[in-house]
């Protein structure tokens, strides 16, 4: 029996679902292994009978909260893909402001029509079995996780900083090039993608389990960042500090 898989999207850019759709070569093989019963962006049929729920997007409205709880009850395995569902993602940038303020900045006088709550990762509302952060989700890692689950193996999500992979990729260190980077505290697994393409790490895979944030903060300061810059840097992906279920 092929496991039944359902995809659900919450507050997000839907880039993660698109990344999954971007398995041009692999998608046909995947369909041999899984039965996709719910994928709103791709198909009209839907079913509430599924084993694995794959979630993208953060939780940011009261309706989201109710919906994710319902999904958790039905799914035996719940996986979050992407930074939004796994960490809260860029959605949490708004949490720096009062909700009335963000509503009125965007909707002006009509702010009263709408509901919003501070954005949060899925794990803040229901237990998550496996979280695959990254913005957008790492296709290769997603495939590895799917295969691991099919084999009955626990997926391996790295618990060490991006620096290690960045060295293996033989990049020049961003700090040596006169810029700054969150690689030293960010969970690896992307092969230091951004640095390899001439940028720095923004932290889209979230922090490692035991980050030395104090030491990293000192490093950032030494490289010319103000305390405010540092807050801004961390808040892009790791603004959610409310813990998990």
């Amino acid at each position: 029996m092929k496991p039944k898989v359902a995809f659900f999207d919450f507050t997000s850019c839907e880039g993660c679902q698109l990344e999954v759709l971007n398995f041009e070569q692999e998608v046909l093989q995947l369909l041999n292994l899984l039965e996709i019963v719910n994928f709103r962006e791709l198909m009209t049929e839907r079913s509430d009978d599924y084993d694995i729920a794959i979630i993208d997007g953060a939780i940011s409205t009261d309706a989201d909260v109710a919906r994710i709880k319902e999904i958790r009850e039905r799914a035996s395995i719940l996986i979050t893909i992407g930074a939004c569902s796994s960490l809260g993602g860029v959605n949490c940038l708004k949490n720096a402001y009062p909700m009335e303020e963000v509503l009125s900045v965007v909707y002006g006088d009509a702010a009263g029509y709408y509901n919003t709550i501070p954005a949060r990762p899925v794990s803040a509302v229901v237990p998550v079995d496996y979280a695959l952060p990254q913005c957008p989700v790492n296709k290769a890692e997603f495939l590895e996780v799917v295969k691991a689950l099919l084999l009955g193996k626990k997926p391996e999500i790295p618990n060490y900083p991006v620096c290690a992979e960045c060295k293996m990729a033989e990049n020049a260190c961003v700090f040596d090039l006169g810029r700054t980077c969150l690689g030293p505290v960010t969970r690896a697994g992307c092969n230091a993608l951004c640095v390899t393409w001439g940028r720095h790490c923004w932290g889209c895979r979230g922090l490692v389990d035991d980050p030395n944030v104090d030491a990293a903060t000192d490093v950032l300061k030494e490289h010319g960042l103000t305390a405010e810059d540092i807050v801004n840097k961390f808040r892009i992906y790791t603004a959610w500090t409310g813990g998990s279920e």
Binding site: C13, E14, G15, I36, L42, V105
Partner: protein
């Protein structure tokens, strides 16, 4: 008494969440509504205080499908604010990227989201068996356009190398050369898609509206230019507010817009109606083959126009690629310059006119932002199309009515989560 009650909660095969509500009794329409319940994300509020580099990085997260368009609009707005004139190479690379995104987005839409309706199935999955060749070609086209973007920006969704003032890394000759034969193959695949669509029939429905798109004297516009309307002519981008006039309605978290009439349309049809004379030869020929004549007032034809644009994009991409293969890509440092000020960036995302408007302080931190998304501009036009389409079909079976309304929504290729950024 017959009661027609339609409540499509979350239309499928579109990007984001939208609902269709219809209530009719004995052929009398009591209620017909396009609703957008998407959770809003507040980019304009939450990006405030970010450094411009981070703004350019965060703003593409407005939309995973047209992240390149957002990224480019964001960068162009920033450059306008700082008074940066990017190099010719930068502009050319950006155009090549746009073609990659247009291709990938249009192929995804026409083959994966729309084609199932025309072939009477619920998704592309059964087509993998019944129309294997089409699906394989469509997948190959999509993969090609993704890979073309990958070579230049590192990954298709949420580009990496694009920054204010230029690029951080450049494709080498061998990478560009390896792409070229695949581009030729893509052009062939597109021909076959065109063949397929020639045989498919689009619903016959016509409603003329106002069409708005960018217009440039030199080419079929995708980046920059003036904002042109079929009703009122051209407006410089800085004055976009005169065109968009955004307003809120309680049943939609996305804002609506209006200009000269109750609604206007943006996207492939709008571009085609305004700029069809600038299509490259092969694209113009394709339009003729598909029976397309300007102006086009049938929104269902949007998908067909998208195919024409794919041919145009592939054609132009080949010219640009050949230019870079012949001349090489120079390793240019991004231009750095920061000053306080406001800038507006305008581009034609696959779904239509996209505007980013930023104000920065003297250190380059964002003070204020406004983003107008193509789908915002189309929401009201969808509503107006519903109102025009429904009376003619209200007596048909419920399933048929529902399908036609859904197909109409899909024709617009709406990017709903994007519109509630």
């Amino acid at each position: 008494m017959t009661h027609l009650k339609i409540d499509v909660h979350h239309v499928t095969r579109i990007e984001g969440h939208g609902n269709i509500i219809v209530n009719a009794k004995d052929g009398a329409i009591e209620e017909v509504r396009w609703e957008v319940p998407e959770a809003p994300r507040f980019f304009e509020a939450m990006m405030r205080g970010l450094h411009y580099h981070d703004v350019n990085y965060v703003s593409p997260r407005i939309c995973g499908i047209c992240s390149l368009a957002h990224n480019t609009a964001s960068i162009e707005a920033t450059e306008a604010a700082f008074g940066i004139q990017p190099s010719e190479q930068t502009l050319l690379l950006r155009k090549l990227l746009f073609h990659a995104e247009t291709l990938q987005s249009h192929v995804l839409h026409s083959c994966f989201l729309v084609a199932p309706d025309l072939l009477n199935v619920g998704s592309v999955i059964p087509l993998a068996e019944s129309h294997t060749e089409v699906v394989v070609r469509a997948l190959r086209l999509k993969k090609f356009s993704n890979d073309l973007a990958d070579v230049i920006v590192g990954r298709k969704t949420h580009p990496l190398t694009t920054v204010t003032g230029g690029f951080t890394k450049f494709p080498d000759e061998s990478a560009l050369k390896s792409v070229r034969p695949r581009l030729l193959e893509a052009i062939e695949d597109l021909d076959r898609m065109v063949e397929l669509f020639k045989s498919l029939e689009m619903p016959d429905f016509v409603r003329e509206t106002e069409y708005i798109a960018l217009k440039r004297p030199d080419e079929y516009a995708f980046i920059g230019g003036d904002i042109a309307s079929t009703d009122t002519g051209s407006t410089p981008p800085e004055n976009y507010l005169e065109i968009t006039n955004e307003y809120c309605v309680p049943h939609s978290t996305a804002k609506f817009t209006r200009h000269n009439r109750d609604s206007y349309m943006v996207g492939a049809i709008a571009r085609y109606n305004l700029n069809h004379s600038q299509l490259l030869p092969k694209a113009a020929e394709t339009a003729a083959q598909l029976g397309l004549t300007a102006p086009c007032h049938n929104p269902f034809m949007n998908t067909v126009v998208q195919l024409v644009e794919c041919v145009h994009a592939a054609e132009d991409a080949l010219a640009i690629l050949d230019h870079f293969i012949a001349r090489g890509v120079k390793n240019e440092k991004p231009i750095e310059k920061v000053q306080a000020g406001r800038g507006v960036g305008v581009v034609e995302a696959p779904r239509g006119l996209l505007i980013h408007d930023y104000t920065f302080d003297e250190k380059g931190y964002l003070v204020e932002a406004n983003c107008v998304i193509p789908t915002n501009q189309n929401h009201m036009n969808i509503q107006k199309d519903f109102e025009a389409l429904l009376p003619g079909i209200v007596n048909r079976p419920e399933g048929e009515v529902k399908l036609l309304l859904e197909m109409l929504v899909r024709a617009y290729d709406p990017c709903v989560s994007c519109s509630t950024h």
